[in-house]
């Protein structure tokens, strides 16, 4: 067993080849979510469509009305494909709202820590360390227990459990940028603090944060799905992918797998595609040298 040192280039090359595929899948999924009302064969929120005699039809069967259920129907008689498209909308919506909020909070905290330094910095970073030593799911569960359920609460839970990652990253790059000449020049011109931070410092710290945001977006989707699966997330009337999986789970034991399986496949595809696309973007940003 000799410690092999075969070069890594082939693997990177393979990743570079598959990366555009992941980016394409991501865009397709986002497009499908946005266009759900036009793409979906049925409106799953329309109570008129909840017919129990259409319930739990297997994939590729037609109901009495002659409608073809490509992926079957669920226990309420909803078309699974339609429910997935609308569910994807909810999942992506909640996750991106949570990610945006976390990003905003993290950016503010990170810039604040880097700009003020000293005690502010030490306190904020101690808080970040503390938060990061607990898993996100625990933080999220604690919040859901305190706040109760609902999409807005999930958004808050995502933001609270993720802001620390952004804060740490932003602080790191902001501290590097603060050493550079252009900041000294801006300070020399006695520009107002707000202007230096927003117009000069912020744009130069964004690249690593955007990369992180893509990875965190995947994590946010997973977190929302998990909370909804536990029944602590979005309401049953407007199910996300996670809740669809939960609803179908009880029928899995009866062999009626499709109600859970297909939403799960879409969920997994979404997470993997976004994560890989982000990974690729990160490598590009890192490999592209100084991003200025």
């Amino acid at each position: 067993m000799s410690p092999g040192m075969r070069g890594t280039p082939p693997r990177q090359a393979a990743q570079a080849r598959s990366a555009p595929v992941f980016a394409l899948v991501t865009l397709t999924l986002i497009g499908a979510a946005l266009a759900a009302p036009w793409l979906a064969p049925q409106d799953p929120y329309d109570l008129a469509n909840l017919l129990l005699d259409h319930a739990r039809l297997s994939p590729l069967t037609r109901d009495e009305a002659g409608m073809l259920h490509l992926l079957g129907s669920d226990d309420q008689g909803r078309d699974v494909l339609s429910a997935i498209l609308y569910g994807l909308r909810v999942s992506l919506g909640v996750a991106s709202a949570g990610t945006t909020l976390a990003l905003a909070a993290g950016l503010t905290a990170g810039l604040c820590a880097a700009w003020h330094g000293g005690r502010t910095d030490a306190m904020l970073m101690r808080l970040v360390d503390l938060q990061l030593s607990f898993p996100t799911i625990l933080v999220a569960l604690m919040l859901m227990a305190a706040l109760g359920q609902g999409p807005d609460k999930v958004v808050i839970a995502i933001a609270v459990s993720q802001w620390a990652y952004y804060a740490r990253t932003v602080r790191g790059s902001a501290r590097v940028e603060l050493q550079r000449d252009y900041i000294a020049a801006a300070r020399g011109l006695a520009l107002p603090t707000r202007r230096i931070v927003v117009r000069h410092l912020l744009p130069n710290c964004l690249a690593p944060v955007i990369v992180l945001a893509t990875a965190q977006m995947a994590a946010a989707i997973s977190l929302e799905a998990t909370l909804s699966f536990l029944g602590l997330g979005v309401p049953v009337t407007r199910p996300s992918l996670g809740l669809l999986i939960a609803n179908g789970a009880q029928y899995v034991f009866a062999g009626q797998y499709w109600m859970s399986l297909w939403p799960g496949v879409v969920l997994l595809a979404t997470i993997v595609a976004i994560q890989q696309a982000g990974h690729w973007a990160g490598r590009k940003a890192a490999g592209g040298g100084a991003s200025r």
């Binding site: 000799s2 410690p3 092999g4 040192m5 075969r6 070069g7 082939p10």
Partner: protein, 334 residues
Amino acid sequence: MNDASITATPPALQVSNLHITIERAAAAPLTAVEGVSFRVGAGEVLAIVGESGSGKSLTAMALPGLHQHPVRISHGSVRLEGVELIGQPESALRRVRGSRIAIVLQDPLTALNPVLRVETHLVETIRAHRAIDREAARSLAMAALARAGIPEPARRLRAWPHELSGGLRQRVVIAMALVNEPAVIVADEATTALDVTVQSEILREVERLARGTRTAFVWITHDFSVVDRIADTVCVMYAGQVVEQGPATEVLAHPAHPYTRALLECIPIRQQPGHRLHQIAGSPPLIGAWPAGCRFAPRCPRAVDVCRRDPPRLSTPDGMTDSHAVRCHDPVRA
């Protein structure tokens, strides 16, 4: 070096016609080292001199068979105390490494494992090759530290690497090489990372060890002043080939290859005060992208048409000492 001694006892290390290639996934392998031959007797110091990329470090790693994919010895022979190493299985090479042939790497900061004590490094090296108990190994380790010129060896034995200075660490690495009393120690730029004064002390130690313990040293360096200090014989490498070799005094006094000459002119102390330091124009070729003809021709002030067309062979021109060879169509005459 007389021929009678070869038949009596084989030299500590004899390398003949060594070729090292770097394999590539979709292309023909690159030849990085081509036809290197030298011999080092017990108690002698051989210096291999060259710039980075000349193949000197590849040659050093090849001696105990430490190459890993994609680098490989494609041809040649390495005889350690008369025993051929090339083609030996890994298990046999492992028995030789650290016991008959040892290596000292360039950077003493990284050559020691930060999470192991000095003692562990030495004791594991001893016990990898000899079936003795920990106590006996510890006293051998202490003796090796003392031989490498480390004061208070008993205390240093318990030290962690980060507690030692760079010079002390390099002495520990040398002690690690010495500990099993090998026939050959290969040092790859072993003093480059150290301060000049520390470097000087260590070179003195090496000289003493070579004479005292009859250990053969292969000293890889880019610095001719080191050659001046310790070497008995010298190989000058350029672009994967030996361009000049011979007794150190001979080569230093009468450099025959324009490259050797140029290198010697780069050393400040050898020049008159006020004299401008020389630089060699251009940069060495990349591995595998060797120029046709003489590989030094593009940078050589003396190059003529034949140099750019025909590769010169390593030979001893008339009027030069027998053991002194040069690879040049038009060697510099003293």
